[in-house]
Amino acid sequence: MMQAKWLDIGPVTQIEPGMAATLPVIGGEEIAVFHTMRGEFYALVNKCPHKQGPLSQGIVHGDSVTCPLHNWKISLRSGQALGDDVGCVPTIPVKVDAGRIYLLREAVVPPPPAQQARAA
């Protein structure tokens, strides 16, 4: 079956600016989708590179989020830890079209286990 390149995850209105929402992925990493105060959308794996804190629950400011566990500041653009901290969390490409949020499917859905087994 042919699948679209982008995965529609619903209307932009479901995330208030300055907030984030979570998207669990069965067999993959939970994703945090951020809506910044300036109206941009970003998506990261929902795990701080420091101690795996849920970034979705942090305070969003500018284009970064501060992890709720130990205040690491993470760039929403690059997933890189900012300041003196070192670490990086994977980002998922996002686009917004006609009021809906789309994530790049291949970055969200892990390859099927069968294929992984064959590849191995």
Binding site: M19, L23, I26, G27, I59, K73, S75, V109, P112
Partner: protein, 832 residues
């Protein structure tokens, strides 16, 4: 067919052998493309233009001034009927193309007319996006795209009445402005919290909103339209999702545009958001080109006019055999509302490796922000003073290195590029005369500031307290800093710690100015106090939220996005991302019904641990955020409310059993503890706040390491303050002794309010009292015999708005978005 151009030119009689170019779209893009082609090679193509509107080409971006009555239609016509005739162009106006037949290389119009082509240019532009709400098709609901729309709006405005504009972007605001000038009462309904959020950051959006409101428009942000209402077959109003209804005689939908791709899609051309084109504006069919708002080039769709000119140049170069290529556009925007200056260009979002230079001038209502990357301008947002917009945009487009003029950049071209001395801000200040005014708020001259510095004020703070320069609105802070540097060189002392890196003000300054200037919203504080970042940081946002909440009880609306997660989810986040839940047990007393409800929750949600806390409560661990509302509903049902174990708030009142049971007890310590907890629960504080009541000096409730402690004695109640049993153990200072429970309660309320109104955010009572001195605290409470009563009254007033169980509201469904997932992705292979 491929007739060679030179042959064509040499033989005018063979003109019919010219290549046939058909243009779909008689708008700005279509006509501009034709003009560019004619300018390069007037004889190469025989041209036919199809237009859906029954008129010649006009300047669509000038429709707003037509609506506002500042221009007439004739003034915005771009190409007259003569132009089409003079250039031998056939215009088919009012007969839109129905479909493209690529196999036969023809277009078919609605009338049935068939037009063959060698090259086809699609310039269908964009169409207004209509939100799919009930009532969208009612008479009186219009979009804002063409002259017909403007005529409908003008007809409606003739009768006065109410206009609702859905959409607070560029177009929506221009429509509202026009309708309001035409005598309608205009309301803008905008989904996002900031106007023009695609062009402006929050700070500039807030200024714009304030100005439009001052002009009499109603601006509703964060407003989601649910339905357009009907009466007698015509629109009569708009209902929002929160239930509000706004009357309307006309509703203008201006929520955005999307590329018009229907013809291209039906013809099988590759499309994403727009029609996909390469750098020469060629679609997936080499004979078909596309240009303007209908295309998607390198992943970008444009809704502004400037990119269109650049696309048309590349297209014409390609069609006349001198391919150049289009590489994308950097865009700038100006709002066409007379008297309001707003400018935005490039990337204003910023990023890791970007630097922000922000200048705010509250007195003039000016906000300027320039975004740099590698010493080059990548974006700019200007409000109130846009004179330098074109200069910044020019530097941006040229990618010029601005490191040489960086210090003066934000002050504009005249300053930064000025003669010699003025490129250095310090030198500019040095050049001022002694009687030049530095601080307008307090009327302080340069001579006075310098004299104050020379008399020993060696820090910004010292200058502010001794001569008041920059102590009010702070907009002259940089001037005072320059004077300090000029007068003292390296001898400038770094003053008190500022609230955070976003501001030069201290916590005390910010708290004082919030009251003095009656600041009542976070963006307003940031603008009036010249924040150097657009929307603050994780340090100042929660602090400002608390300061505003404390200053304006019942008035200020709590900002959830400025709250730390625990206070947003009303539970304590744990290292694995689950939460712990602590129900309130008044004075540490519980009963079988509460214990059963807790036991049931533990079993029902399989909580891995239950623990008795140091504050005499029960803590249930391992609850997931999505289960929290259900857990709270169960606990509420047994009569328990939030224990606020997660907040910078009143935590617990710990008690011993006192005279009711204990053979040493002197007073009813549990009874008083319960009364104190009933009075104080739910109050937000600068930091967490713990209370204890011991029934005798044996002090089993450990009252002398609490923020507020009561030790009962035979003759009354000893009150203690400023204790801490945490990181740095501190025993309380004795405050006073009172005779009755009522006095104990009154003093408790007064002390808490003094702490709430004075301490810095995240400062416990222990360091606060060490900083201020217990004598200062006593003086505040006891020098004026009415002080305790007044402070306690303010606390009780504030509590009227605070003692509302947040768990009950969430259990009832409030803010479900904070607790639920967007969805769950289940890859198809799961089911295979």
């Amino acid at each position: 067919m491929n007739a060679p151009t030179n042959f064509d030119k040499a033989n005018p009689i063979l003109g019919t052998l010219r290549e046939k170019l058909v243009v779909i779209g008689n708008g700005m893009a279509g006509c501009r493309a034709v003009e560019e082609i004619l300018a390069r090679d007037p004889d190469r193509y025989s041209i036919t233009i199809f237009g859906a509107e029954p008129r010649v080409n006009y300047n669509r971006i000038m429709l707003s001034p037509v609506l506002a009555g500042e221009k007439s239609f004739d003034e915005i016509v771009l190409n007259t009927a003569e132009w089409y005739a003079d250039n031998g162009i056939e215009l088919v106006a009012g007969d839109p193309v129905d479909h493209i037949d690529r196999e036969r290389s023809v277009v078919v119009a609605r009338s049935g007319r068939v037009e063959p082509y060698d090259k086809l240019l699609i310039a269908t532009g964009s169409e207004p996006f209509v939100i799919p709400v009930p009532g969208r098709d009612l008479p009186g609901v219009v979009t804002f795209r063409d002259l017909d729309d403007v005529e409908k709006m003008l007809a409606a405005a003739d009768g006065g009445g109410n206009a609702v504009v859905i959409g607070g972007g560029l177009l929506g605001l221009e429509a509202a402005h026009g309708l309001s000038l035409r005598g309608m009462s205009a309301t803008v309904v905008h989904l996002m919290p900031t106007l023009m959020e695609r062009q402006l950051d929050e700070a500039a959006g807030w200024l714009l909103k304030t100005e439009l409101e001052r002009r009499g428009q109603t601006i509703l942000t964060g407003a989601d339209t649910e339905e357009i209402l009907e009466r007698d077959g015509h629109v009569c109003g708009v209902r929002l999702r929160d239930g509000r209804e706004i009357p309307a005689d006309i509703v203008v939908m201006a929520v955005g545009i999307r590329p018009s791709t229907r013809l291209a899609k039906t013809a099988g051309l590759e499309c994403e958001r727009g029609i996909l084109v390469d750098d020469h504006m060629v679609t997936s069919d080499p004979a078909i080109l596309a240009v303007g708002e209908c295309v998607e080039h390198r992943g970008q769709c444009y809704g502004l006019v400037a990119p269109l000119w650049e696309m048309c140049r590349a297209l014409a170069d390609h069609l006349t055999g001198q391919p150049s290529g289009y590489t994308g556009s950097v865009t700038s925007t100006k709002l066409k509302v007379s008297g309001i200056d707003v400018f935005s260009a490039g990337d204003f979002i910023g990023g890791d490796d970007h630097e922000d230079i922000v200048m705010r001038d509250a007195a003039r209502g000016v906000y300027k922000r320039v975004i740099l990357k590698d010493n080059r301008i990548v974006g700019a947002v200007l409000y109130g003073d846009t004179a330098d917009g074109s200069w910044y945009f020019d530097l941006l487009k040229k990618q010029e290195d601005v490191s040489g003029i960086r210090d003066g950049l934000i002050f504009g071209q005249a300053f930064a590029m000025g003669e010699g001395a003025f490129a250095d801000p310090n030198a500019a200040v040095a050049a001022l005369s002694d009687d030049a005014e530095i601080c307008g708020c307090n009327g302080v001259s340069k001579g006075k500031v310098v004299a104050t510095i020379e008399a020993g004020a060696h820090s910004l703070d010292a200058v502010r307290s001794q001569c008041k320069a920059s102590a009010s609105c702070g907009s002259c802070t940089h001037l005072v800093e320059s004077l300090l540097a000029l007068t003292l060189g390296d001898g400038v002392e770094v003053g008190a710690k500022t609230l955070c890196k976003c501001t030069s003000f201290t916590h005390d300054d910010v708290r004082r100015l919030i009251l003095d200037k009656e600041l009542k919203a976070i963006p307003q504080v940031m603008q009036e106090l010249h924040w150097t970042t657009p929307d603050g940081c994780a340090s100042c946002r929660p602090a400002l939220n608390y300061y505003l909440l404390c200053a304006w009880p019942g008035e200020y609306e709590d900002d959830q996005k400025s709250r730390f997660v625990n206070e947003r989810l009303h539970a304590n986040i744990q290292k694995d991302g689950t939460y712990s839940v602590v129900p309130r047990m008044w004075g540490g007393i519980t009963n079988p019904a509460e214990l059963r409800a807790i036991a049931d929750v533990v079993e029902k949600y399989n909580a891995p641990m239950v623990k008795v806390t140091g504050g005499q409560r029960i803590d249930i661990f391992g609850i997931r955020k999505e289960d929290l509302p259900a857990v709270w509903a169960d606990l509420n049902a047994a009569g328990m409310v939030s224990g606020h174990a997660y907040g910078k708030a009143l935590r617990t009142v710990k008690t011993c059993v006192g005279s009711e049971w204990c053979r040493f007890g002197t007073q009813d310590s549990t009874g008083l503890g319960v009364k104190i907890e009933r009075m104080t629960w739910g109050s937000w504080m600068p930091h967490k706040f713990k209370i204890a009541v011991s029934g005798c000096p044996r002090n089993c409730a450990e009252a002398t390491i609490k923020d507020f402690g009561v030790v009962c004695v035979d003759s009354g109640y000893e009150l203690h303050v400023g204790g801490n049993g945490g990181m740095k153990v501190r025993a309380t200072d004795p405050l006073c002794k009172v005779a009755t429970e009522e006095e104990a309660l009154e003093h408790c309320a007064a002390f808490i309010q003094l702490y709430r109104e004075d301490a810095h955010y995240l400062e416990r009572t222990a360091p606060w009292i060490e900083r201020k001195g217990i004598e200062w605290v006593r003086a505040q409470l006891f020098d004026d015999p009415q002080a305790v009563k007044r402070l306690a009254a303010r606390f009780r007033y504030s509590q009227k708005f605070m003692q509302d169980d947040p768990w009950a509201r969430r259990a009832a469904g409030e803010r479900r978005d904070l607790h639920s997932h967007l969805a769950t992705v289940r890859p198809a292979t799961e089911y295979a």
